[in-house]
Amino acid sequence: MRKPYLRQAPGRELADYPEGTAYTAGFLTAKNAGWRSVRPVLRAEKCVLCLRCYLHCPDGTVYESGGALAFDYDFCKGCGLCAKICPLGAIEMETEGA
């Protein structure tokens, strides 16, 4: 699994911008999760790594790490699709800051 990684944006000088809207792919320059009100939390004992959540996540924030499922909270918006789609109830949505 390759997920986008955070990288420092190139500078803000004119010469740092590309000519036209095309630039090296595969990285992001800013976190984007500020409006999340609920977060997905894994109940690892129920998860069989079917990866249905990975396939359905609209923001590509579900990934596998060391044989376990993980969420990228820098980009997860808390939509809850992963929890809805999980056939084993292995993902629960918990209120942020509770």
Binding site: E19, G20, T21, A22, Y23, G26
Partner: protein
């Protein structure tokens, strides 16, 4: 016509243009037919079918798709062509700034035609002149030969690394697209020597993946627009470079962003664009014989706009008229509005004519000069007059 040798042929503007496109060798052509552009895409589809043009011809379902498709092909790294007119140009209008902002150097022929309503299939310049701000380079031909030559010049300029901007070549509907003249068709080897293969890093690449056609928020968006503006301004120098190279290769020389006729000491200058310029020059020559210091400027490029060239050409002018085939209701013709910017307050007269295919006669052009010499200013419609409310 397919043996690759230079030759002369009796061709319509559309047919000559198609020959120019074949010489440029686009790999993808996506187009939707519309009068009076239809013949150019018909000829191109025949060339693809008979094997004399190794291109993919994609019959799309609309002009919006025609240009979207051309962008996709260009983003795959190949030379692309499309053509349209009038309602078709307006239907693809959403995609025009998209192609310009994406810096896809697509070349498009536009057959200038009236825009509805009233519904009208005949020639005027309302379509293209309504799209001056879309970010494309815009040139206007006055003959089938110039149309053919402009295909090669357009690709050279559009694809130049300093420019990387789409290019719209305009041919007056019917007056150019459907009239016939003897045209020199360059040899394929010469065309290939003139026009380098298309190379760009603004394309899909499996080894170096790119995000393409992305968004840019406040604080970034303006930089991209700034760079577009700078690129189109840089096209001034590239047009000159291309025309010099063209003259060395083919022996035909063009005159840059404008073409001047007897402007050096002219007191009354008529500025126009497109095929009607020939008639204007004839009238100016008659006036010269009668002792009137008349001159004509034919604008060849509306983008980049020829500020410096017009300033120089109009230096001796006491008054300036503009003849154009469009009207921006409530203001004037688009060309008149732009030319005002270089006149430093001198008297200016806007003549709107040829709308919906109306003929412009020599007497109409004489009348423009008569009005100009009588000190008339403002905007009037040929055959109708100025608006009084």
């Amino acid at each position: 016509m397919n043996d690759g040798c230079a030759q002369r042929a009796f061709l319509s503007g559309n047919e000559a243009f198609a020959c120019g496109v074949r010489l440029a060798g686009p790999k993808v052509i996506s187009a939707y037919p519309i009068t009076p552009q239809t013949v150019v895409v018909e000829r191109l589809s025949e060339m693809v079918e008979d094997g004399s043009l190794a291109a993919e011809f994609i019959h799309v379902e609309s002009e919006h798709s025609a240009l979207s498709c051309a962008m996709g092909a260009c983003a795959a790294g190949v030379r692309t062509f499309t053509a349209t007119s009038s309602q078709g140009l307006l239907y693809m209008a959403e995609c025009l700034p998209y192609a310009a902002g994406g810096r896809f150097p697509i070349v498009m022929m536009n057959a200038n035609r009236a825009v509805a309503l009233p519904w009208n299939i005949y020639g005027d310049q309302s379509d293209a002149l309504s799209q001056l701000a879309c970010g494309w380079i815009q040139a206007y031909a006055q003959s089938a030969q110039e149309g053919l030559d402009m295909v090669l010049l357009a690709y050279y300029t559009a694809e130049h690394p300093a420019v990387r901007t789409p290019f719209m070549v305009n041919l007056d509907g019917f007056h150019l697209t459907h009239t016939y003249e003897v045209v020199d068709i360059p040899a394929r080897a010469d065309a290939e020597a003139f026009l380098p293969p298309f190379e760009t890093d603004n394309r899909v690449d499996f080894d170096e993946p790119k995000n393409m056609a992305f968004s840019a928020g406040p604080g970034h968006c303006a930089v991209f627009k700034y760079k577009q503006h700078a690129a189109v301004l840089r096209a001034r120098a590239v047009v000159a470079e291309a025309e010099e190279r063209f003259a060395r290769t083919f022996g035909r020389r063009y005159t840059g962003l404008v073409e001047n006729y007897m402007t050096q000491d002219a007191e009354y200058v008529l500025v126009t664009l497109g095929a009607v310029a020939g008639l204007c020059r004839d009238v100016a020559a008659q006036l010269r014989r009668a002792g009137v210091k008349a001159g004509v400027v034919r604008i060849r490029y509306m983008r980049p706009f020829p500020d410096a060239e017009l300033t120089a050409a109009l230096e001796s002018a006491r008054a300036v008229a503009v003849l154009e085939k469009d009207i921006s209701p409530g203001r004037a013709g688009a060309v008149f509005s732009e030319v005002l910017g270089v006149l430093a307050g001198r008297p200016a007269l806007g003549a709107v004519g040829g709308l919906g295919g109306e003929d412009i006669a020599a007497r109409d052009v004489h009348a423009i000069f008569d009005r100009l010499r009588a000190g008339e200013t403002g905007v009037y419609f040929i055959g109708i007059g100025g608006v009084t409310i």
